[in-house]
């Protein structure tokens, strides 16, 4: 088990056997950790601790504000409370069984390709001196905890302004258990299916973004549109909050992407740089697209583009060269603008805050694009014997499996929740009074 954990924790590091230059330094930890006397590197540990809290900053208040500003004033508390509640619940579930199911278990045989086991139930056998790579295993545990939490909270954007609070939490808990954990295991565990297929996902484009985007879409469709959707205006009530949220997402994303190097090194630096260039290019692309098609480059456009770019670079952060990251970002900016402005109205679903349009679509573009930008011939850091065609197939395969898996689980979870809560939606009058008042007994703003 220890062995597989180390592999698990060193999953990303291992992927880098691809990268010529700093392969040694990067892969070293794994080996070392496996050895009898493992020691930690305080510099790597410092950076990973910071990365962990950065991802928390992305979630609370990052995601909460990004979403909260986009809803009407009567629903903001409901949205930010759903995010906060989900964060707290998923954090405890992660400690209870999430980490164990995602990263423990045998290296092969049985279900090991799909899910781990309970050998670390409530972090059994994980002590302050357990080491994973060059950092304390507990740091790896909390770093991964934050990924699980933010993924769940992202889904909130799809069902905003109409779902019962308890139902939201229950839905996310079920979905986390049966969709997030297996997919995280498949991608990052040494025993995982995708991991062994050689799928590239540096910081979780598939696990986090495709996964949450698809779940949000399914949930939104099952739930049905908000009252008055497409009939009356439903304008964002405070774009400054949305802007603050987007900025905190960007800042926190450095922990998310550069942190996925699992150390303070040149790989982290490249991932950091790509996490600036891709969203910058995507923000500009989205704004230019708006300017051309609508005559105005909007504030919401800039920040939406940036988030789309961040999503797209996530799986490629450590594999793309500087130029590749710019191109990937720009392309994603245009594609997501199209998804939000053209695709959504076409299909008439009410994904309230465009979780699918930005995280789902952006995640897919990123996951597939990773195969391209990782190509050494295109300035990427893929292996010497890199086979673009083959990698493309692998990526598409992984994406397809993830989409189907997440969609099915989300659908079933919604049906269960509907059954338990006697419908997942609040009453019409509660919805028109606003969820802040009807679900939480408060209003956000008073004089």
């Amino acid at each position: 088990m220890k062995m597989s954990k180390v592999l698990g924790s060193a999953a990303i590091a291992s992927l880098l056997l691809a990268l010529p230059a700093f392969a040694q330094d990067a892969a070293a930890p794994a080996a070392e950790a496996a050895a009898e006397v493992a020691t930690i590197d305080t510099g790597d540990t410092a950076w990973m601790i910071v990365s962990t809290l950065l991802v928390i900053l992305m979630t609370i208040p990052g995601v909460a504000l990004f979403y909260g500003g986009l809803v009407r004033a009567k629903n903001i508390l409901s949205v930010i409370t759903q995010v906060f509640g989900a964060f707290a619940v998923i954090a405890l579930l992660w400690v209870a069984y999430g980490y164990s199911l995602a990263f423990s278990g045998p290296t092969e045989g049985g279900l090991s390709a799909f899910i781990g086991d309970f050998s670390n139930f409530f972090l059994a056998n994980v002590t302050p001196d357990s080491v994973s790579g060059t950092i304390p295993e507990l740091v790896f545990v909390v770093f991964q905890l934050t990924f699980a939490c933010i993924t769940a909270t992202l889904v909130v954007g799809g069902i905003a302004e109409r779902m019962k609070f308890g139902a939201v939490i229950a839905f996310l808990a079920i979905w986390f258990t049966f969709a997030y954990l297996p997919i995280a295991h498949m991608v990052w565990s040494g025993a995982g299916l995708f991991f062994n297929m050689g799928a590239l996902d540096f910081a979780g484009g598939t696990v986090v973004h495709i996964n949450s985007g698809v779940a949000a879409l399914v949930a939104a469709i099952v739930l049905g549109p908000r009252l008055g959707y497409l009939k009356e205006p439903i304008a964002p009530h405070n774009l400054v909050f949305t802007y603050i949220g987007a900025c905190l997402l960007w800042v926190g994303w450095f922990g998310f992407n550069a942190g996925s190097a699992l150390g303070a090194n040149g790989l982290a630096a490249q991932a950091f740089l790509n996490t600036i260039t891709a969203p910058a290019a995507a923000a500009i692309a989205w704004a230019v697209g708006e300017k051309i098609t609508r005559g105005h480059a909007s504030a919401l456009g800039f920040v939406s583009g940036a988030v789309a770019g961040l999503v797209a670079i996530t799986p490629a952060a450590g594999f793309a060269g500087t130029f590749g990251s710019i191109v990937l970002g720009a392309v994603t900016g245009f594609v997501c603008l199209w998804a939000v402005v053209t695709l959504k109205p076409m299909l008439k679903y009410d994904d309230s805050l465009d979780v699918f349009g930005i995280h789902g679509v952006g995640g897919i573009v990123g996951a597939i694009g990773t195969a391209i930008v990782a190509a050494p011939s295109l300035g990427g850091f893929g292996a010497e014997d890199y086979n673009l065609g083959g990698q493309l197939v692998t990526q598409i395969l992984a994406v397809a499996v993830a989409i189907v898996w997440s969609a099915v689980v989300a659908l079933v979870a919604m049906l269960i929740v509907k059954a338990i809560f006697g419908g997942a939606r609040v009453s019409e009058s509660s919805e028109s009074d606003g969820l802040d008042l009807s679900s939480h007994g408060e209003r956000a703003y008073n004089s």
Binding site: P233, I234, A235, P236, R294, H296, S304, V340, V341, P345
Partner: protein, 112 residues
Amino acid sequence: MKLVIAIIKPSRLEEVRQALNSLDVHGMTVTEVKGYGRQKGHSEIYRGTEYAVHFLPKLKVEIAVDDALADAVSTAIRDSAQTGRIGDGKIFVLDLLAVTRIRTGETGASAL
């Protein structure tokens, strides 16, 4: 007495206040309102969804005055609030049966 109600452009309040002062009218009540009329609204776009905004920000100024002053006040407002551009607003005059100053209980014109 009369109650003069003027709907004006927000940017003209200061001018109107001064015009009234020069008529020795030193009291008024102002409300932020939204107006709909000939003046066209605008449209806003969020994430591709377009909203037509029909109502424009205006100010409603209410002034209670003695009958004798009513016309002068209307004229003063018209002159000071006018920009000549569509959307300048309206002046309504209503009959005012009684006025009381809460602080003193005075009634009638002396309460103004």
